[in-house]
Amino acid sequence: MKVSNVPFKGTKDQEAKLLEVIAKYKDQKGALMPIMQDAQEIYGYLPYQVQKIIADETGIPIEKIYGVATFYAQFSMSPKGKYVVSVCLGTACYVKGAGALLEEVEKQLGIGDGECTPDGKFSIDVCRCVGACGLAPVMIVGGDVYGKLTPDKVADILAKYE
């Protein structure tokens, strides 16, 4: 699993919320998963600093938390960028060339799926079918939908968000 090197920007407010969550589940058996889910809800991802808080507060070894985080696809250790780039890899988009599209996005941004650019601006998230198969292949950038794409259009689209 990809671990981000984007600097951690957690706030005191987020930490207070996480401590509240941990206090709620404290001493409850099997509480690790819900704590991690809530932590991801609060921070958007589970970097070292967040897993360390969970480990220090619960006494659960941090390796155990990391093991769970790397086991389940639902957990991410990379933050979401200011603009999330979702490339649809659903069947229709895929046969219309979404693979090459994703490759181009990865090349332009210098990151892979599930990762975030070091400046925190973009992250890539592949998805399966956004329900706009007529526009295949489709990519969503920061909530804006772009359809009928070819790789050569990617650079211009991303430039709009610079």
């Binding site: 699993m1 671990v3 600097p7 951690f8 070292y48 600093q49 897993q51 360390k52 480990a55 220090d56 070894p61 941090i62 390796e63 155990k64 938390i65 990391y66 093991g67 790397t70 086991f71």
Partner: protein, 587 residues
């Protein structure tokens, strides 16, 4: 619980309800191969080597997790089972680094043994993806090579369950699964205490100690260097196993002879400094008791334990005795007293130890373990296994070596020292001295043995009336047990005077540096008990059984250290500790 009858390979045995098929097979004296199962450590039914046939069952079952029912009939070794096991081994090999010739575990590898047993000969049954891993040799003590790991999880089980540390675990999933640390931190940057119990549990060559034999051999070959070696108590009931001798065979004299033949300039005994530790530690204990010092006092011989308390209970550090471990006391005395006596420049002395321990390799590099002008007290620590490899490489016929004595002035020791290797041994040795010093009376032979603190139980307690004092003691081995005792101290539930803690379950006889015993044997016998018995026998055979009676120790104080706890003794023989975090701050 009710007993039930089970028939395994035509042998009918009675087992308690709740037993597994593997328990029943063991009861019938049948060894079922296990790569992930290890008695008392790991039973997860993952490796599929222990599969057996149960009459009436739909498919083969994993014996280590299959519950017995009354009247059950099972078979452990049919052709069908053997085929299945063969296939499983082939699949394990399909993603296994088969660099067996150069592997530290070759000829002592559980995977290799089973491949031979089941006729797995070719190495390329399945072509396909192979994982690639980097070797983690960041630790001073432990090296991990995941290319040889078979994901049995014994190491992670022992780390979490026995040691309550859990610094290693499973990362990722499916084919990508590997054993590692959180965020792939190097092992050296975690709260690993270097106990090496993971190595002791590992069936293959994925874990081993950081090898120091090359450096030691180079020192021996250097004519400028005066190379001395000390051997810890437990080595003498372990080393024989490297040469096919029975588990726990006592080889004290052969050990001295073997080290001498390797070319060490002086062959000494850590037992000497175990006696030294006892007089310093008993003196510290009495001072703490009489002068209102911090109590309970806790022993400091086990470097795995010391690093554990630094990480996990730093607030209790004032309880830990300031005495260095016997290894380090020895080194400090070698480069001062011995160097002066012999007229050798301490810079030219290379101080080597052979220990049942991997944490000793870390300990020698700690701060405040360099009493002689910044020279390290100990330069290299070998494990029992490494010494075994050196003796083997030198072509020495170990089994037929004569018994030889250890060299003066640091070769003499008492029975109190030799029992250091068993859990409770340091406590017993300290009590022998402290009780006599406090009461001013000699203990009779029957009172000399403190049986309450012997045995492999994880936590032992006892109370003694010593003069007017009520002395309450506890002994813990294995860090999960240490945690229990520390919690009771913290909460004030227990008011101990003195506590002995050893990182490894059973004490040093079962240390991370001891010869590796395959699960096929460990599932049947308790290696800790057998080796400890060897030490207690040595103790009862010794003419002197109290540390303070050791003539060489008496002489050391007369000629050099002046008195127990003197300024000089403090400088050479005592140390300090540091507070560590469990999880460091990282950017």
């Amino acid at each position: 619980m009710a007993d039930i009858k089970v028939t395994v390979d035509n042998i009918t045995v009675t087992v308690p309800e709740g037993s597994t098929l593997l328990d029943a097979a063991h009861k019938a004296g049948i060894d079922v191969p296990t790569l992930c199962y290890l008695r008392d450590v790991n039973e997860i039914g993952a490796c599929r080597l222990c599969v057996c046939e149960v009459e009436g069952a739909r498919a083969l079952v994993a014996a280590c997790v299959y519950p017995c029912t009354d009247g059950m009939v099972a078979h452990t070794n049919t052709e069908k089972i053997k085929d299945y096991r063969r296939k499983t081994l082939q699949l394990i090999l399909s993603d296994h680094n088969q660099d067996c010739l150069g592997c530290v575990r070759s000829t002592n590898c559980e995977l290799q043994t089973l491949c031979k047993r089941y006729g797995v000969e070719k190495t390329d049954y399945y072509e396909g993806a192979k994982n690639e891993f980097e070797i983690d040799d960041s630790s001073a003590s432990i090296v991990r090579d995941n290319s040889k790991c078979i994901l049995c999880r014994r190491c992670t089980a022992v780390c979490e369950k026995y040691q309550s540390i859990g610094v290693i675990g499973n990362n990722e999933r499916g084919f990508e699964t590997y054993i590692g640390q959180a965020f792939d931190l190097p092992l050296a940057e975690t709260s690993c205490v270097n106990c090496g119990q993971c190595i002791v549990a590992c069936p293959v060559g994925a874990l081993h100690e950081k090898d120091a034999t090359a450096a030691v051999k180079a020192a021996i070959a250097d004519p400028e260097k005066h190379v001395v070696i000390q051997a810890a108590p437990s080595v003498r009931v372990g080393l024989g196993e490297c040469f096919g001798m029975p588990i726990g065979a006592e080889v004290e004299g052969k050990l001295a002879a073997g080290m001498r033949r390797l070319g060490f300039d002086a062959v000494f005994d850590t037992n000497f400094s175990a006696d030294l530790t006892i007089v310093e530690e008993a003196n510290e204990l009495i001072e703490r008791v009489t002068k209102g010092g911090v109590l309970p006092m806790i022993t400091s011989c086990s470097p795995g334990w010391v690093k554990f308390i630094e990480h996990y209970y730093p607030e209790l550090l004032p309880h830990v005795s300031s005495c260095k471990s016997p290894q380090q006391m020895f080194g400090a005395v070698v480069k001062s007293y011995y160097a002066e006596k012999k007229g050798i420049d301490p810079k030219n002395i290379v101080s080597v130890s052979v220990m049942p321990c991997t944490a000793k390799k870390f300990e020698l590099g700690r701060e405040d373990q360099d009493a002689n002008n910044g020279l390290p007290d100990v330069d290299y620590a070998l494990t029992t296994r490494e010494l075994g490899r050196m003796i083997d490489e030198a072509g020495i016929d170990f089994i037929n070596l004569p018994d030889e004595p250890y060299d003066d002035p640091m070769g003499e020791s008492t029975g109190a020292a030799v029992i250091f290797g068993a859990t409770g041994g340091v406590m017993e040795a300290a009590l022998r001295t402290a009780v006599e010093w406090i009461t001013g009376q000699q203990l009779g032979k029957d009172l000399l043995e403190f049986q309450d603190v012997r045995g492999v139980e994880g936590v032992k307690e006892a109370s003694y009336k010593v003069g007017d004092l009520e002395v309450s003691v506890a002994v813990a081995s294995g860090l999960a047990n240490a945690r229990k005792v520390l919690e009771m101290v913290k909460s004030g539930e227990k008011n101990y005077t003195f506590i002995e803690i050893m990182a490894c379950p059973g004490g040093c006889v079962n240390g991370g540096g001891q010869p590796l015993v395959p699960s096929g044997i460990k599932n049947f016998i308790d290696v800790r008990e057998v080796r400890a018995k060897g030490l207690y026998d040595l103790d009862s055979d010794r003419p002197l059984r109290r540390s303070h009676e050791n003539p060489s120790i008496v002489k050391l104080y007369d000629e050099y250290l002046e008195s127990y706890g003197s300024h000089k003794a403090h400088h050479l023989l005592h140390t300090s500790y540091v507070e560590r975090k469990v999880n460091d701050d990282h950017e």
